[in-house]
């Protein structure tokens, strides 16, 4: 469907359709964020021997996040006097925009993808790297020492962990011979899921992705117990919500990416299960990845900031490099 549209001529009609589809995707993502927050609170709740939200919207608390968002919307928007006003205002937007932009390349099913770019994976990594600007700027513009420390930590961490993230995925690219996400999924259909062929790459990628998402145990930029809230300590109301939104949209994007790269995207695990639509498989795998993120959050304490860097450069980075070397060696010798 999208394929045909892409190859048809440009016109107001096509623009309108694309605009409409983009709005639909935005709504889907916002819907995901709304219920991912609820799910996170519920999962954490049950793991911590309590119930989580259970008042608003029936016993499952289905309207809890809606009410929270409403509260954030009508909250007073405070900009500290000494803050750098333009940067303070623009920082959450800089953080959020790339988070939404990366979704364009994700192939949810073989038909439903917004931009089938030849270098989809590269696009994802390049665009998502921009978010760190928003965080550093937000930390700096707040004119708050905790925020500054948080922003600096965010900068150091995201840049450090991007490297193992990219290098680990090179193994997959070597096997596929393409940066196109559709090709990567198709390749998995022919051989096997890359989680089986590239288990080391998967582990490195998964750990680095947690760091990229700023989630426990790598939530140092916003570590509540040390820096109060890190880079967004001075933010309130909807600007703050934008930072939170960024995190959850990235969780959506990263879980989708892991599903696509390592878990076979929309493909069923066995061929005889092929009668179930690809979208269902994608959703199932995707939800599982999201659940693992929540599970880890409920389990682990936080890294120390110096150990975090050591872990990235001295553990993940060499492992990822060794993985590429081995993959290339095996590929050259045996295939």
């Amino acid at each position: 469907m999208v394929e045909e549209l892409l190859h048809s001529g440009s016109g107001w009609m096509n623009f309108g359709i694309f605009f409409l589809l983009a709005v639909v995707l935005l709504l889907v993502v916002l819907g995901f964020v709304t219920y991912a927050i609820l799910a996170e609170r519920k999962v954490l709740g049950y793991m911590q021997a309590r119930h989580g939200p259970n008042q608003l919207g029936g016993k499952w608390g289905l309207l809890q996040t809606v009410a929270d968002v409403l509260k954030l919307l009508i909250k007073e928007d405070i900009i500290p006097k000494a803050a750098d006003r333009p940067l303070f205002i623009i920082a959450p937007i800089i953080a959020f925009t790339p988070a939404f932009m990366v979704l364009a390349t994700i192939p949810f099913t073989e038909k439903f993808q917004f931009a089938d770019i030849g270098v989809g994976l590269l696009y994802y990594i390049a665009i998502s790297g921009m978010t760190v600007f928003g965080m550093v700027l937000g930390g700096w513009a707040s004119n708050n020492k905790y925020a500054l420390l948080g922003g600096m930590r965010a900068g150091a961490q995201m840049i450090s962990y991007e490297i193992p993230l990219v290098i680990s995925v090179l193994g997959v690219i070597l096997l596929t011979g393409s940066l196109n996400l559709n090709d990567i999924v198709a390749q998995q259909g022919e051989t096997a899921w890359f989680i089986l062929l590239q288990p080391v790459a998967f582990i490195v990628f998964f750990i680095a992705s947690i760091a990229e998402l700023n989630r426990t145990p790598f939530d140092l930029p916003e570590s509540e117990n040390e820096l109060v809230a890190g880079y967004f300590v001075e933010y309130s109301g909807f600007r703050w919500a934008f930072f939170m939104l960024t995190e959850y949209v990235y969780m959506f994007a990263m879980s989708s990416l892991i599903t696509v790269i390592f878990l076979g995207g929309w493909l069923p695990p066995f061929d005889f299960l092929g009668f179930i639509p690809g979208a269902v498989w994608f959703a199932l795998k995707f939800c599982f990845v999201v659940f693992v993120y929540m599970w880890i959050r409920a389990t682990l304490p936080r890294f120390r900031v110096d150990r975090l860097m050591e872990f990235a450069w001295k553990v993940l980075f060499p492992i990822a490099l060794a993985n590429i070397f081995l993959t290339a060696l095996i590929k050259t010798l045996f295939f």
Binding site: Q48, A49, T216, N225, L300, P301, F303, R304
Partner: protein, 366 residues
């Protein structure tokens, strides 16, 4: 060369990890602390001065609010001081009730220390497990005294209320339950690599330093000094119980963590024995005059609270109020080593070290 500046950072008084209204002014170079100055007094209520105008029984509720995590030991220390001055013999049943209440309080306090410490290090779940188990203790103490936190349970000469029917059985059943839970705590946290990385070899001080800084409780025992007033200067009926004094030799945050967790196990042993020995009946109050007047003179007693040695000095001129009352508040003394420990550490370690000291601000500020 880039010009770098030292930054002055106020940690607290409103900060999630200072466990109350504690303020720490730290000079940091990047994230490395070059100087740390604790600022206390945000919770100062002048307990000692107030006590000079209060009758002895009226002082007891004030002590509840000092170390609010183990109010029973505070209750005990003031009653014990007055009893020592007046030479009152406390009935056996009351002594058992007191010991059981104090040991339950000690467990509850260590559970909070454990849970909040892990919370400070960034893991949220253990905190809630600790509070779930602490809730059971709070409920038991609630049955005993009618209050969940500020018990006001002990009186000069005994305790205010007798144990309700079935209470001792409840304690007896609780002991094996918590033993099982303790194993779970160890499984959950003690072996976690990230946790060990955060606490092992962090905030180390030696035996001599600990003694010179007048540290006590788990903070002292974590350096290998075997000093527990329950064993070394037995008060109440502690000489009747068989339990060990837990020590560790490393003197780091991990040692303090382990000392606290293991002490829960020892307290459970005491509780178990106390349940067995608990007298079926008897008085809960000694014969004391209606208005308590400590004889002219002075007395100092000290006991082992979960945080260390809590002492009470009373100087009396024979009236119904003390002439001067002074508490040795262990949290306050334990805090003194903090500026020395923090130099050269980073912000993350600050939280780990401060959390391991396990202060209660109500007690620090008095």
């Amino acid at each position: 060369m880039i010009r770098t500046e030292e930054m002055l950072l106020n940690v607290g008084p409103q900060h999630p990890s200072t466990h109350g209204v504690f303020r720490l002014v730290v000079k940091i170079d990047g994230e490395i602390i070059t100087e740390a100055t604790p600022v206390i007094g945000y919770l100062h209520r002048g307990t000692e001065k107030l006590a000079e105008n209060l009758q002895y029984t009226q002082i007891i509720p004030y002590t509840d609010r000092m170390d609010y995590l183990s109010a029973m030991t505070n209750n005990y220390v003031i009653c014990h001081a007055v009893e020592t001055m007046m030479g009152i013999q406390v009935p056996e049943r009351a002594e058992y009730l007191r010991v059981m209440a104090m040991e339950l309080g000690r467990i509850a306090s260590h559970l909070v220390a454990w849970g909040t410490y892990i919370l400070d290090l960034g893991a949220t779940s253990p905190f809630i497990y600790a509070f779930r188990d602490r809730e059971m203790i709070i409920n038991m103490l609630n049955e005993l005294s009618g209050a969940r936190l500020t018990f006001n349970y002990m009186r000069v000469g005994g305790v205010k209320w007798d144990a309700p029917e079935g209470w001792v059985d409840g304690v007896r059943e609780f002991v094996p339950y918590l033993r099982e839970q303790l194993k779970g705590y160890h499984d959950l946290v003690s072996g976690n690599e990230i946790f060990l990385d955060r606490v092992k070899g962090v905030g180390v001080y030696s035996k001599e330093e600990a003694i010179n800084y007048s540290l006590s409780g788990p903070n002292l025992r974590s350096t290998g000094v075997k000093w527990d007033l329950r064993k070394d200067e037995p008060y109440s009926i502690y000489d009747r119980f068989d339990f060990n004094v837990i020590t560790r030799d490393e003197g780091d945050c991990l040692a303090r963590y382990h000392v606290r967790l293991d002490e829960i196990g020892e307290s459970l042993k005491i509780l178990e024995q106390a349940c067995e020995q608990f007298p079926a009946e008897g008085e809960i109050m000694a014969k004391v005059p209606k208005i308590i007047k400590a004889p002219k003179g002075e007395a100092f007693v000290r006991i082992e609270s979960p945080r260390g040695e809590i002492g009470c000095y009373i100087s009396s001129d024979g009236k119904k109020e003390p002439y001067r009352l002074k508490f040795r508040r262990p949290s306050f003394y334990n805090l003194q080593i903090l500026p020395k420990l923090l130099v050269g550490e980073n912000i993350a370690n600050l939280i780990a070290i401060l959390g391991a000291v396990d202060i209660v601000l109500g007690e620090v500020d008095g």
